[in-house]
Amino acid sequence: MRLSELLGRPVVDADGTSLGEVRDVRLVQDGPLQGTFGAAFRVDGLIIGRYEVASRLGFDRRGVKGPWLVATIVGRLARSSRFVAWEHVDATEHVIRLRRRADELQPPAPLPQLRTGSVG
C-alpha cells in the first residue's frame, strides 16, 4: 500500500456519518529495526478533517501562532479535525469506515506535546 492510497479518502464513522476525508497519517517510530535509520515508523492513526487547507498548514496539530486573522479563520476550519487510532480503521473499501462513533473521537494531539525529539 502507498500513503497516497489513504490520503483524501472519504471517512464515515460507525453510524455511517461522514467525517470528511483523510488529511494525514500519524506515524510513531516504534517498529522493528530498519537499517541505519533505527526503529521503523508504524502507522498509528489517521487525521480526518473536512477542510484540506486547515490540515495542509498544520494548524490543527502544530499549535501554530500565525497572524491572528489567519490563525482565527484557519483555526476554526481545523476544529472539525479528529484523530482515530489505526486499530479502529477499516480501510478495505474506498470509503474508510471507523469502528468508533464521531463523538468518541478527539482532535489530534498537537505534535509538540507528543515529541521527545524534534523534527524541523
Binding site: E5, R26, Q34, F41, Q113
Partner: protein
Amino acid sequence: MDDDPGVTRPAGLVIDAALELLDRQLVDSDDSLAGKVDDLELTPSEDDSHVLYVTAILSGPGALGPRLPGRLGRAWSALFDRLHPAEHPEPIRISFGVVQSLGPRIRISMSRHHLGVNSFEHWTREHIIRRIPGSGDASQ
C-alpha cells in the same frame, strides 16, 4: 513544553507523514539533491497484517502520478508508462533503512547514482529532447 494530562506520549518519535515527510527534499551521501519524497510505501507486519510499517520512500514521476487528482493524475501516470523504457515501470524506491536524518531535508546514506533518480530524465533527454529540431545541445 506544556504537558496535557489527556495526552499520552508514545515511546517513539511521532510525525505526521503528509505534513513532515511528503514533498521534502532528499539529499544523498554526496550532499547532492536526490529527488523528493513523492510517496511512502506501507508494508503490513508479518505478525499482524493490520499493522503497517513505512518501509520505503517512493520518488520520481512514477510516484507522483497517483498523488495528483483525477484526470491529471491518470494522464500523468499514462504518460510516464508510455515514455518509460521499462514495460512495467515502477517509481524509484529508497529503503527507509538508508535514511540518516529527518527534517526540512531528508538525508540518505546512498549516492543518487545508485538510486537511478535521474534515469527517466536521462531517457527523455536522449530519446525525445535530442530529436526536436533546434534542440542543439539541450540534451547535454
